[in-house]
């Protein structure tokens, strides 16, 4: 059988197919380009990509109204390493990313600054920066406070479900109690998990500088994992497991658990006897963003104690802003009760029990991360 295929038909068919294939990328580029993102252009826009559950319902709208800035706020920042991996292809090539402000945890912020991916903040346009808590000023990687402005600070300790444990939990060693086999959770945040374990072994984490210093702790956690003691390494998702009783106890962050304990009185948060780790997430202005004025306005806004208090009342972490305690009292009701909470406003005795990590050199940090990744099974 011979299907008649004259020249015109062949030409047309081939041509269509070919033209189609070649024009597709152009079509796609047009479609894709239209949604490039709102950050980085013009004076009146701002994009803050933050952690989840890290702000109240009103502040975003109030700020947008008061300043007239087109403010985009998302909570897509789920994990430091994951976010870093997402943006490094662009930033490494000198391209800009969509976000203007991000709030990485302090050690990740240090990395951004060291790689040159953070811009100097327009400090003279942020008068409220003077309200920054003194203990947070002058980090070793940003001595002159030019690159970062803390967003929230918190404590990593132990959270436990009274119904599941049947007893009080007081120490890091309780996490390794065989009675809780298969019901222990730990965080994927290496510094919080290993920090607690190291303190449980009697070490001072601010003095840890090399992997060898910490090797014993890694061995201990690895053994616990192999014995089936640890059920899972989690991010923020430990809350429900804790509530449901899947975890008897886990390494946890103060603010999260406080929010949970309101609804579920069986859940408690403690700073272990040996101590807890203190951490903070801090705002940095990403390289390539051109919205310096908007950035300054936002930072100034959230460092006003009134606004800071409103945020604290919702997220229940320790505010980096001075004067929040008084503002909370003024707000009255539940917020005033928070003003008394030792986990939000720790007294000196509590502060003395908290430790924070020093800076780790690049190669050492790599060893830590690798060892931890091997343990979390990834």
């Amino acid at each position: 059988m011979a299907a008649k295929l004259n020249r015109r038909q062949f030409l047309i068919r081939s041509g269509i197919a070919g033209a189609g294939a070649l024009s597709l990328p152009a079509l796609l580029a047009a479609c894709g380009g239209g949604d490039g993102g709102s950050g980085g252009g013009g004076d009146g826009s701002l994009f803050f990509e933050n952690w989840p559950e890290y702000i109240d319902d009103e502040t975003v709208a109030l700020f947008a109204e008061a300043s007239g800035i087109d403010f985009k706020y998302t909570d897509a920042y789920n994990d430091n390493n994951e976010y870093f991996a997402k943006v490094q292809p662009a930033l490494a090539k000198g391209n800009k990313i969509e976000a203007d402000i991000i709030a990485p945890t302090f050690w990740m912020a240090a990395r951004f600054v060291q790689l040159g991916w953070a811009q100097k903040l327009p400090v003279d346009k942020i008068p409220n920066m003077a309200n920054l808590r003194d203990d947070l000023k002058g980090q070793p990687w940003d001595k002159d406070q030019q690159y970062n402005l803390p967003w929230q600070t918190g404590i990593a300790g132990i959270a436990y479900n009274m119904k599941a444990t049947g007893r009080e939990v007081k120490s890091v060693e309780d996490l390794f109690d065989p009675a809780f086999k298969g019901k222990i959770g730990m965080l994927t945040e290496m510094r919080d998990t290993m920090g607690l374990v190291l303190m449980g072994l009697g070490k001072n984490i601010s003095e840890i500088a090399t992997f060898d210093d910490a090797a014993a702790a890694f061995d201990k956690v690895e053994k616990a994992k192999n014995d089936g003691q640890i059920r899972a390494f989690t991010g923020n998702d430990y809350l429900d497991d804790l509530s449901a009783g899947n975890f008897a106890a886990c390494v946890a962050w103060s603010g999260d658990v406080l929010q949970l304990a309101k609804d579920n009185p069986d859940v408690k948060f403690i700073i272990p006897e040996e101590g807890g780790t203190s951490w903070f997430d801090t705002m940095i202005w990403v390289k390539g963003s051109e919205n310096g004025d908007a950035v300054a306005k936002w930072m100034d806004y959230v460092y006003d104690p009134v606004n800071a208090a409103r945020i604290t009342a919702s997220v229940q972490y320790m505010s980096p802003v001075k004067g929040v305690q008084d503002e909370l009292v003024k707000l009255g009701g539940e917020a005033a009760a928070l003003a008394e909470d030792p986990l939000l406003f720790p007294d000196d005795a509590t502060v003395a029990r908290l430790q924070s990590w020093g800076a780790l050199a690049e190669e050492e940090e790599a060893k830590f991360d690798e060892a931890f990744a091997a343990i979390t099974g990834a």
């Binding site: 062949f10 991996a85 997402k86 292809p89 089936g228 790599a366 990834a378």
Partner: protein
């Protein structure tokens, strides 16, 4: 033979022209994508590709009816081949190059090609448990899908009657919900305080299940069994459909005849139905085993730190440790093992039946 005559001879074999153009396009696409050429070189490659397209059209134009007819399929294939070469072959090449590269420092984001075979050594030794585990889980899941899927496909094919399509639809429809949500739902179902565990406790089966290592410490969730269960569930339709297709082709009169010839239905079943269903089972096994081996979602949501699969490791190395070279090496090893399986299958069965 002088050049013109030779050219004429080539032009008189249009398949060669067609194949040649396909090859030119494919190689050109890979070259562009994988970065074999840069700058002026790429311009040359693009020119060659365009020339070949023009060439084939020209040959068709000038040639006779038979030529055009012979060249038509190549014409239709052009854009698809181009796309696949650019976005499937070229990436594989890129990945191969990356797997032999090394980083000059922790935050070196552009690893350089250094024939770093050590990446493969790392991939094969450090991640051996994950590899073995992945293949193990995937194998068990495949067997389970056969056990569950075969009766289902059998009933639909032989007993379905006019409800066949509806029943098939019923099998497929649940998989129009999100993969992640389905897996999370299993987390719900298997939770410690959930219905399944309660029923097991009430029936007193806990001891039995624990000795089989299906439950661990009274948990059903965050166990290897949960991960395998998730894999089985999520890839079940990939087994049911191919088995159904091959069973459907069986003439029911064959089965009747067999039952007349053999003394029992089970013999007829074993000797006639099963062998004829084998192509379907084969195809289904590949369609289940391969994606299951590379999956990481089930292990992430339903597993624990000791059930991580190679997919989780690749994801971690790629997206958190930023260790592209080792991640690429691991991907390659995975791909290699699986490709061997596919090649064995195609040798055995022919690619036609995969459809």
């Amino acid at each position: 033979m002088n050049p013109t005559a030779r050219l004429a001879k080539v032009a008189s074999r249009p398949e060669h022209v067609g194949l040649g153009v396909m090859l030119a396009l494919a190689v050109g696409a890979v070259a562009l994508g994988a970065g074999w050429v840069r700058g002026p070189g790429s311009a040359v490659v693009v020119a060659v590709m365009l020339a070949s397209v023009v060439g084939i059209i020209g040959v068709a134009f000038l040639g006779g009816l038979e030529t055009r007819r012979a060249l038509a399929p190549y014409g239709l294939l052009k854009p698809g081949i181009l796309w696949l070469s650019l976005f499937f072959l070229a990436p594989l090449w890129s990945m191969m190059v990356m797997s032999l590269s090394s980083k000059q420092g922790r935050f070196d984001f552009f690893p350089s090609f250094t024939w770093e075979w050590d990446n493969y050594r790392v991939a094969l030794t450090d991640f051996r448990p994950q590899f073995m585990r992945s293949f193990g889980y995937a194998a068990v899941a495949t067997v389970l899908t056969i056990l569950i899927g075969f009766p289902l496909a059998y009933v639909i094919a032989f007993r379905g009657g006019k409800y066949r399509n509806i029943l098939l639809g019923l099998v497929v429809v649940p998989f129009f919900t999100s993969y992640l949500i389905r897996t999370l739902a299993w987390g719900n179902i298997l939770a410690d305080e959930g219905p399944v565990v309660s029923i097991i406790d009430n029936l007193g089966l806990r001891g039995v299940l624990e000795s089989l290592n299906i439950m661990q410490n009274g948990k059903l969730l965050n166990t290897p069994a949960a991960v395998i269960g998730g894999l089985t569930y999520n890839f079940l339709p990939f087994m049911v459909l191919p088995i159904y297709v091959s069973l459907e082709k069986i003439d029911p009169r064959l089965v009747d005849a067999a039952m007349d010839l053999y003394s029992s239905a089970s013999s007829a079943f074993r000797k006639i139905v099963v062998p004829l269903a084998l192509p379907g089972i084969f195809a289904g096994s590949l369609l289940v085993f391969i994606p299951a081996a590379g999956d990481f979602v089930n292990a992430q949501f339903l597993g624990n730190p000791q059930t991580t699969m190679i997919g989780n490791s690749i994801q971690d190395q790629f997206l958190r440790q930023l260790n592209y070279p080792v991640a690429s090496a691991m991907s390659f090893v995975l791909m290699f093992v699986i490709t061997i399986a596919v090649l064995v299958y195609t040798k055995f069965m022919g690619t036609e039946d995969l459809a």
